[in-house]
């Protein structure tokens, strides 16, 4: 049995429950409607790598995890890459990343929260309670499964919000 409280400094990490939901399949390229046949992350990876984030060994798709009723804000990202021109013909995007751990099937999995900034993203607006996470390939993980997530308090802020907002909303 994994004892996350023993592995992680309790005061430094939020623990929150989440549910794995189906994403758009754009990051991984799984969706037939994805304009990027091998997924956007495959194309973005070298740009991230040259800016200091090495995703070697990670599955190049995202886990979409609903943490409602919480909403998140990355206020101090581990990495923030601005003006990434990763696809010809589209505007440059900004990406932020934050540390996270996932607890699933008695295993602790280290990943990153992946946050394409909505103000620079053209499509697929989604809930502020929906996190995209990049992690190593997880065997047998299925949509609808409940997961425990751990976020670094120095990077991410979680607030409870019953009125769901959308990424594109203006305050």
């Amino acid at each position: 049995m994994i004892e996350m409280d023993r592995l992680l400094e309790k005061t430094a990490w939020y623990k929150v429950a989440g549910v794995l939901v189906k994403g758009y399949g754009v990051a991984s390229g799984i969706s037939s409607e994805s304009p990027y046949p091998f997924g956007s992350l495959v194309m973005q990876k070298p740009y991230f790598n040259e800016r200091g984030l090495d995703l070697e060994g990670f599955f190049l798709g995202t886990l979409n995890i609903d943490i409602s009723p919480y909403v998140f804000e990355i206020f101090n990202p581990l990495f923030k890459f601005e003006g990434v021109e990763w696809y010809e013909g589209t505007t440059a995007e900004t990406f932020s990343f934050a540390d996270c751990f996932i607890e699933y099937e008695n295993t602790c999995i280290k990943g990153y929260v992946y946050y394409p900034h909505p103000e620079t993203k053209l499509r697929h607006f989604q809930s502020k309670s929906l996190l995209e996470i990049i992690a190593p390939y997880i065997e047998n993980v299925r949509h609808g499964v409940k997961l425990s997530l751990y976020f670094n308090k120095e990077q991410i802020r979680l607030t409870k919000n019953h009125k769901e907002a959308r990424y594109g909303d203006r305050p």
Partner: protein, 219 residues
């Protein structure tokens, strides 16, 4: 998650359930007849260095953890690997010790609060990308997880500066071509330098194509 189209997991993906089932047998044969380093030498390395508070990185099938002698009957063990099949297989194998599992990339900072008296890197370095100098980032990432006086030990196949028979040369070339290994540039001098820059009391011993190493953190 769907099938990974990329080769990013190539080194880890070799450890599918089916492969793990025959992994031990092939390891015994390969170590003795191809790499000219019978597994007894690696097992001795484990027996000499393992503690009751142990982190094992790149766990394979868990063969050495299963076979080695821990100093106590109830050791605290954390298994760290990128590959879930490998973690599960090793954890099942040593379930009597109730190990914990962390699926993570040891080439990135590991961010755990607990620390260990021993860290094992059995047959991992030759699977990591880059040269020994590039791979040494793993030592940087593991050092904060070691208690004062803690030992880091392991083995890795090297290509430079060791004599290999024809079959070993062919096997190493093919495993590198398939990206299961990445060790054509690896040699004992670079390994010794990488360890001595970061630890005390480092030692590298060559048996066949295998470098067996130990090093310690300051007390």
């Amino acid at each position: 998650m769907a099938i990974d189209h990329n080769d990013v997991n190539a080194g880890a993906a070799i450890y599918s359930r089916q492969v793990l089932a025959i992994y031990d047998l092939s390891m015994l044969i390969f170590f003795k007849f191809v790499w000219q380093c019978p597994t007894i030498h690696v097992l001795e390395l484990y027996n000499d260095n393992i503690s009751s508070n142990h982190l094992d990185v790149g766990v394979g099938s868990g063969y050495y953890l299963d076979q080695c002698q821990f100093p106590s009957d109830n050791p605290n063990i954390l298994l760290l690997d990128l590959n879930h099949n490998s973690l599960s297989a090793a954890a099942r194998r040593i379930s009597r010790y109730r190990p914990e599992m962390l699926q993570a990339n040891a080439l990135e900072p590991i961010l755990l609060k607990n620390t260990f008296d021993s860290v094992g890197l059995g047959s991992l370095l030759h699977c990591l990308p880059g040269t020994i100098k590039d791979k040494a980032v793993i030592f940087e990432n593991l050092r904060p997880l070691m208690n004062p006086g803690g030992v880091i030990f392991g083995c890795t196949l090297i290509n430079g500066g060791v004599s290999k028979h024809w079959f070993a040369r062919q096997a190493m070339q093919r495993l590198n071509a398939k990206k299961i290994f990445c060790n054509l540039q690896d040699n004992a001098d670079d390994l010794q330098e990488a360890l001595s820059k970061r630890f005390f009391d480092s030692n590298v011993r060559i048996i066949g194509c295998m470098a067996l190493f130990t090093a310690r953190t300051p007390v």
